[in-house]
Symmetry: C2
Subunit: 270 residues, 2 copies
């Protein structure tokens, strides 16, 4: 099944655009879990159990697992295999390297971890992205306009009369022959989000930056979705994962995911 | 000890600007090594043993280890700890993400793997790079102009009257308060290499693209080094690692590293 179809199915079944970002930090998880053999995995399993009927995707963030070395890699692999088969896994990796190296990253992410999608950086151009696109049923979300302050350093610069992020969006469209590209567009730039949606009306958008980074939900839904109010994957990580540091953290995470889903759906009219 | 000092010491001791890129692919290593418990590690150890008096640095490429999952991560960690203490390790990772995530990548690379330097992508701007720069004795080589075809897609675009890679070089200079930034500049663009060296006269440059990618050695040395004909880390991966697929692969790798070192030194006048 193609990625956009898998995403649409999960999103419709759970009536949700919420993606839970699994940025799992052993220093932030409830203390009682540290007794478990693999606290990171135990935490993720509880979060998945309590939210899998409320989300359209999960997004594990590679950095948090790599910081724990090979043990972290195992926690990540087991987390991915624990996620219900019908829910897409977006591996947040922001990789970007020359062809023979990108092929190895694609193998790591799509074959070793069995992710459904990956985030990639556009800086090195088409041949750094195309090895990911050779996997027809997977998806590469290319960084377009990110939610952080540093987005101002280059992404908003003017290139040939247009903002750089627009050039990126246009290039990505031209790489989308197999229909397996997406864009990362931060919720902290509503006006630009609107413009990028005009450029790429039907691409899936991965939208970070609500929650801890204070992006606005209403404009994110209004400008980030496609004409059917779909194809926006709206991520929240810290706000859901660490809603409570007590034993009931999974219940608190569920409440937070539910609250966000409903808030988003209010602006989708459903 | 600061990174540039460590690099200079290794480079002077071995009279070398050669960096061996450890892009170790189990499919390409000599067949007899597949009997070893950890073929990747066994291969790397032989390569290191046979070249460590000829190089200024080693550059393991994360992708090749990640493609082997947690086992690959262990091979990488053990490879890093096997490299002689006085030789800098540049972890080629091309990471770039928001602050709290970049901090986790920095932890993975500088603490878990004990790398001395890392390659990072500039696309997400200063706050995606600064967590790496908080480690004063480490170094972040920021992608400026890469050696692949895709460099044409964005890096050579004109931004505010200048090529984009120049804007990146200038920004990186402004991030260099602690003296721990470097630039990645491909050997396949000699004219631009010259220009970037003018912008950043004393920064260490990591220069890929000779060998398999056909960059020219003479112009790389002439334009890529600083005023003392130093501070260029000239990488070769495949050309050295896979000089032979027979039992004498380490001897062949040594010959190739020696040949490259001497060819480079010819143009340094030493």
């Amino acid at each position: 099944m193609r990625f956009v179809e898998k995403l649409q199915n999960a999103s419709r079944k759970n009536n949700s655009l919420v993606c839970v970002g699994l940025d799992t930090d052993p220093q932030k998880i409830p203390k009682h879990l540290l007794r478990e053999e693999d606290p990171t995995l135990a935490f993720n399993q509880k979060i998945i159990d309590s939210t899998s009927d409320l989300v359209c995707a999960y997004k594990p963030n590679m950095a948090f697992y790599e910081a724990q070395g090979s043990r972290g890699w195992e926690s990540l692999r087991k987390t991915c295999s624990y996620i219900p088969k019908e829910i897409p896994i977006i591996i947040d990796a922001k990789r970007g390297d020359i062809g023979n190296t990108a092929r190895m990253y694609a193998k790591a992410i799509f074959e070793e971890l069995k992710g459904d999608a990956v985030t990639v950086s556009p800086y090195m151009g088409e041949d750094a992205v195309s090895p990911f696109l050779e996997y027809e049923d997977k998806c590469a979300f290319v960084l377009c306009l990110t939610s952080n302050k540093g987005a101002n350093d280059f992404q908003l610069s003017e290139v040939e009369g247009k903002p750089f992020y627009e050039i990126v969006a246009e290039k990505v469209l031209s790489w989308n022959a197999k229909g397996n590209c997406g864009l990362v567009v931060g919720a902290t730039h509503p006006e630009q989000l609107k413009r990028i949606r005009q450029i790429a009306p039907s691409l899936p958008f991965l939208i970070p930056g609500i929650g801890a980074q204070a992006g606005d939900v209403e404009s994110t839904v209004k400008f980030g979705t496609d004409e059917n109010r779909e194809m926006a994957v709206i991520n929240s990580s810290r706000g859901i994962l660490y809603a409570s540091d007590q034993e009931d953290f999974d219940g608190a995470a569920r409440q937070e995911a539910l609250r966000l889903r409903d808030k988003i759906n209010l602006h989708r009219g459903r």
